[in-house]
Structure formats: C-alpha cells, structure tokens
Symmetry: none
C-alpha cells in the first residue's frame, strides 16, 4: 500500500480524451483511491471540467492541469508509464504486466522520484509518438478477444492496483470479535434436545437412532457454532419439543 | 489466474441498477476479463439490453438473465459474495478485502462450487436484505473520504482482481472431497421450512418474525452446510412440521 505522501508524487495523465464523462470517471476513481494530480492533454471537448461523472472529485477536476502534449504533462516525472495492450502494437519499451507494476512504482517513489501513469484516447489508445516519452509500457491482462477497456474502467483498475493492491494488507478486524465458540458441553446439550425432537416426531426408525446421533454430534462440531448460535438453536428445539409433547 | 472453465462458473449479479450505461459498462468489463454470465435483478430501466456502453459485449448483454431478487439470481451458487464498503454498515458476514478474495474464490471453484459476485444499485449499494443471501462481504479498499465507486468501475476492479490479478489458485484441498456445498436455493428452502416450524410452535412473537428470518438466513450461510447436511436438515424439519400440524 502506498502512503499518502507517495500517492502525492503520482500524476495521472489523459491524452486526447474525447468524452468528458470518461475524464470525470477517471477523476472519480482517483478520489476513490487517494490520488490527486490529474493532467489532461489536448482534450476534444473544451468543457470537460464540468463533467457530471466526477462524483466526489469536482475540485480535483477543477484543479487538473492542461497540457499540450504528453511530454509537457510529464516533464517533472522520473518514471513515465504508458498503458495499453500489445494487441495492435509491438512494444519498443520494456513491458510490465499491471499486477507486477506496484513494486516498480514503489521503488521509484522510495528513491524520491515522481511517477506518471499515462492513458491514451478512447478510440486508439496511445500512439507511437505518445509512447516516446514513456519508460515502460504497463499492460492490463485483458482477454485477447476483447482487449480494449473503457477509459474510466482502465484508470480505475490501474489505480486500484497501485494504491490498494500493492503491498500491505488492509486490516478489517476479526470476523466476530465478540463471539466465543460454543463449548463441547453446549453442543452436546443441543444434540440431546435435537435427538429428543427427532424421536418425538418419529424422524427415523429406532435402529437408525444411534447412527443419527453420531452424525449429529459430528455435524454440530463441523458447523463451528458460536455460543449465541448454540443458545438460540437450543431455544428453538426446546420450544419444538414442548409443542410436540403437548 | 483462473482458467476459462473456472470463469464459466462465476455469475455476476447486478441488483436494481438504475442506469443502463452502467449495466453495459459492467458487461464490457466482463468481456474484457473473460466472464460470460450476467444476471440483472429488477432493473430500473426496461430497455437495458440495448445499452450502448456494452462495447464488444452486446451478445453477453442479450443473453443476460433477468431475476426478481438476489436470492433467485444466486440460487444455483454455493458461494455468494456481496460487494460494498464498511463505511455506513456493520458487517453481519465475514469480511474479505478484495485483494484477498482470489484465493477464496479459487478454492470454492476447485471443489466444484459455483460463485456469484453481487453488486448493489448505484445510489445505495446492497441493502441489508440483499446481503442476507451472501456468505461473504468483499470490500474494495477505497479512500475513507471518497469510498463510493461508480458501478461500472467497481465491477471492472473486482473482475480484474479475480481474473487477472489472482495468482495461481491456492490449493487448500477440499474438506470433504465427495461433498458438494449446498446451493443458495437449497439453503433458502431449508430456511423456509425452519421458519414455518418456528411459527407452528410459536417460538417467538409475530413482531420478531422478520428479524428471526433474517438471522436464520445469515446463520445458515455461515455454517457452510454441504448438500447432504442441507437435505438431512430439511428432512428433519419437514418431519417436525408435519407432526406439529397433525
């Protein structure tokens, strides 16, 4: 996981985007994953800063830089990474699969560098000229039959990889911190009442009773009931037993 | 990386999506990452199958299933994973961070299961009721100040994680090689009969019935019942119900 200080040294660059909704979607994904520096190079639509799709990222879009070329947008960066697929292209730079990009980016930031991640236009992606300012080509491993991603989705996937995926696990806490597992005694009390219920409703012939009881004990242990589960189940089966007998 | 055969046993479920463009975007991301089974539950717009955003995924969208409820959409699945954030919610299920989800899904597929990944509506995500059919909650580790993702982008990020990111599947070995996990539909049938039994023996006051039903659905999923367990339990409770009524 990259720190906020590291994320602050990453630029997201969109080259010649056609649809302002995609620019807004890219901005939204940036806010989702903690990025803040967007540059837009030669956009097709002049009013892209008003894109409605930049939910929660309105100020990020307002503060985005405009640039004339990818070279201008990335001039302060020490590692420029172009994104794309290899389907219609022979790479001239080293190629890194997106899942392996995190480590490369982290070491560049660790040594004080500044990183740019560059995305091409919706229709054609980055041109050979655009790639000329890139140190690396990062490839999203999409399906060969349908490699081309929507721009906003491609940005989201790359930022997820860099910000959330790379490195440290997210601590979400124990599954049920306040729940103790049921004790063996509690399970056996429960098994006893269930056994009585099965008998009272003539679930199985007498000669099967021992086998059923055995299976029930195994089952109750396999289920990993907690204290509350066991107490509730006991309540339900006691209630059933009472009703069956009266 | 999941195989094509494994990807074929994963269902993507969109619950009450409002904007057909997002449905199309989800379909496009599915095609990008090699998924093919989409279910749409109670969509807001009737003409969603024509969504222009499903670039390269037109037939996937045409073949998508319609369902009335998340329970119906996932009834053949053995592991149902809801997606969301923990920002406005206290989880009732085990929580897995998205980067850790791949291994869990791979082992379920390895033991012959069928997996559903469920996404809520744009505005509110999944409701507490929707979550009642989920075994797990998968959380995309977004920034606390801007946690809410665009639906199409959230789908893309999750599918990237499962299809492209998840390294070699973790082989944990099945716990019971000859046992298939119970499907969501089997668990719901069981829950229905238990609910009838609780009613027939007047286990709890009427006003508690909804809450009990909800807890029961959660409990049955947490217990990881296999097919045989579910069938046996169903037999026992049917027998009880019959006896209580006669």
């Amino acid at each position: 996981m990259l720190t906020a200080g590291q994320l602050d040294r990453i630029e997201i660059v969109l080259v010649k985007p056609r649809n302002p909704l995609n620019i807004g979607a890219a901005a939204r994904a940036m806010a989702n994953f903690g990025f803040s520096h967007l540059s837009v190079v030669a956009p097709y639509e002049p009013h892209w800063r008003e894109a409605q799709s930049a939910v929660g990222a309105e100020s990020l879009l307002q503060n985005a830089k405009s640039a004339e070329s990818p070279a201008e947008a990335t001039e302060d960066c020490t590692l420029v990474i172009g994104t794309g697929t290899l389907v219609h292209r022979k790479a001239e730079q080293p190629v890194v699969a997106l899942p392996d990009l995190g480590g490369r980016v982290a070491s560049e930031l660790d040594r004080g560098g500044r990183v740019a991640l560059v995305f091409g236009s919706e229709k054609r992606g980055l041109t050979r000229d655009d790639f000329a300012c890139c140190h690396l080509l990062a490839v999203i491993p999409t399906h060969p039959q349908q490699p081309s991603m929507n721009l906003g989705q491609a940005v989201a996937v790359c930022l997820y990889e860099l910000a959330a995926r790379a490195g440290a696990p997210v601590l979400l806490g124990p599954e049920n911190p306040d729940q103790h597992p049921a004790t063996s005694g509690e399970l056996d009390r429960l098994a006893g009442v269930i056994d009585d219920v099965m008998l009272a409703c003539r679930y199985s012939p007498d000669e099967m009773r021992e086998a059923n009881r055995h299976d029930l004990r195994l089952l109750l242990r396999r289920l990993a009931l907690n204290e509350t589960d066991a107490r509730r189940a006991l309540g339900v089966f006691r209630r059933i037993l009472h009703k069956l007998k009266h």
